[in-house]
Symmetry: C2
Subunit: 325 residues, 2 copies
């Protein structure tokens, strides 16, 4: 099991993340070779493992059975992977994590079942290791919120009037909620008070929102070689993110000739929209917004008890939310 090299800088969590991958591998017990291969390929494709990392870090404020926390961290990564696989079906995505997507490689049948299979593994891990039903109920609420985020995004496709609040609600669902759940589980299941766990949950939510905002900004600001594919594809599919939404709010008329072509948009159309987004201050405003969520998260982390893991949480969060690629 190989994990992302970034974790070499985080010795408090690196060895446990390796155990997370090993445990997920051990739980993929289906005899169905394509589904098994598809899942393992996805799990080992070098995802950043951020969600299990936050779960593990928030569980280090109290001494606790580490195997239990590794299992719960594995549960959140499993859920994350399940949603990625199903999202790729929806988006008809051919590429994921730089490799052909599961549906492109193994077909749609395998992709549907591989996602479903991972949901059941997640369910089994949560039910098997959570300390009480309250925690499992919390999981159910988060899962519903994650899915509602995806569904809202689907429902507002091609909507030029989408507000930044609608967008924030969507990313709060599709990305924020899983960071929130990971942080909550880590804190609550390691024996902290519900008050502490709710605080961790809010920190996780803000990190997740800032993370998604930054991802969406980087789609525009990454070097021109990288630019294009994701944003162009999103534009064609009518999925508009913060920079574009904020620019549209400044003046939508300029954009209409390009965006109204919907799935027929050409690479030149996308480049034109990209220029307009910059001219109308979409990127600057989105960066300000991301900065707000980042600052809120970092300030809250700084108020946590001064144990070694706090510095790691600060460093990881700061690095993650100030990255340039």
């Amino acid at each position: 099991m190989k994990i992302h090299p970034m974790w070499r800088n985080y010795p408090l969590v690196e060895p446990e993340l390796e155990q997370v991958l090993t445990l997920i591998d051990k739980n993929i017990t289906t005899n169905n070779a394509p589904v098994r291969d598809a899942i393992l390929k996805m799990i080992n494709a070098g995802g950043k493992l951020l969600r299990p990392a936050y779960c593990l870090l928030f569980s280090q404020f109290k001494p606790v059975d580490r195997h239990k926390m590794i299992a719960l961290a594995a549960a959140v990564e499993t859920l994350h992977t399940a949603t990625l696989i199903h999202d790729d079906i929806i988006d008809e995505a051919d590429v994921r994590r730089g490799q052909p997507s599961i549906q492109a490689t193994f077909g749609q049948d395998t992709a549907v079942y591989a996602g479903d299979y991972l949901f059941t593994v997640c369910f089994k891990l949560l039910a098997g290791y959570a300390s009480d039903l309250r925690s499992v109920q919390q999981d159910g609420k988060h899962m519903e919120a994650i899915l509602n985020g995806e569904l809202d995004q689907m429902a507002t496709r091609y909507n030029l009037d989408i507000t930044i609040d609608q967008y924030l609600t969507q990313i709060s669902g599709k990305t924020g909620q899983l960071f929130a759940l990971s942080s909550f589980l880590g804190a609550y299941e390691s024996g902290n008070s519900l008050h502490f766990a709710r605080n961790a949950q809010t920190i996780g939510l803000n990190i997740g929102i800032a993370f998604q905002l930054l991802d969406d900004i980087l789609d525009y600001t990454a070097t021109s070689a990288q630019f294009g594919k994701p944003v162009q594809e999103d534009m064609r599919q009518g999925v508009y993110s913060a920079p574009l939404i904020l620019a549209l709010h400044d003046d939508s008329d300029d954009f209409i000739p390009y965006l109204s072509k919907r799935s027929q948009m050409t690479p030149d159309d996308a480049q034109a929209v990209d220029q307009l987004v910059r001219q109308h201050g979409g990127i600057d405003q989105a960066q300000t917004l991301a900065r707000n969520y980042t600052d809120t998260a970092l300030a809250a982390i700084h108020k946590l008890p001064d144990v070694p893991v706090r510095a790691t949480l600060e460093e990881l969060t700061s690095t993650l939310l100030n990255r340039q690629s």
Copy 2:
């Protein structure tokens, strides 16, 4: 909410089944109109509600909060519906319960998410109403077994050497396990001993296997007007059921010229296979097998405590497993 007219004969369970549908409806809270419409259409398409019925009946051996049991019965029907929706994507089915399938009506995107949404509703209901984590763990195991049944079926497509044991393992997974879970939940969550609940689980498993065997037999023996569509489609997709598998075991050479055409099989080829299945005793043998599972289930029900619900369980099971259509 309209339920199947068959339930008029079962006053112990009819009103509660209506409440099951109402509760599912109440839990579909997504704002996404297509997903909501798709799910409600499926839920209200007149499915037989057998799984929640067994959950409710097995919960009537002890006095218990009926609302709790209705919620758990809703959870199993929700899980069942989720698997139907995703199976239709795999099978590229255009028709389900006599109506256009969700993916045919609303598209594949909505079908993937509608299934996922129902999984989260199931999870929420189970976590919200189960009395302890043991019960939720049990759910996880059953869900995995259900999916493994589907996956095994996918993996053995077009396999002329498939054994009857492999087939029985598959239907034990894809159909038996959900009947088993429903019966277990009803018995265990209403305060019976684990021993009683395990007995209910085994009864449910045998009912589920007999039910699927009978379904697969009826695909062959139903009147010629009904014959064709399901069996022909299954043959073309390489999904072989008990009558064909047992006949193949008698002599597979006769079948090869037809089955080797795989997805290119014509209606005439399918009719020829149908004739061969009869000649080689496939239907008779499958009926004997179904009879064994039915008898085992009925004998075990007869040994249950003599309270009013026992007679209902006997009558329902006997009617269900002796039906001609």
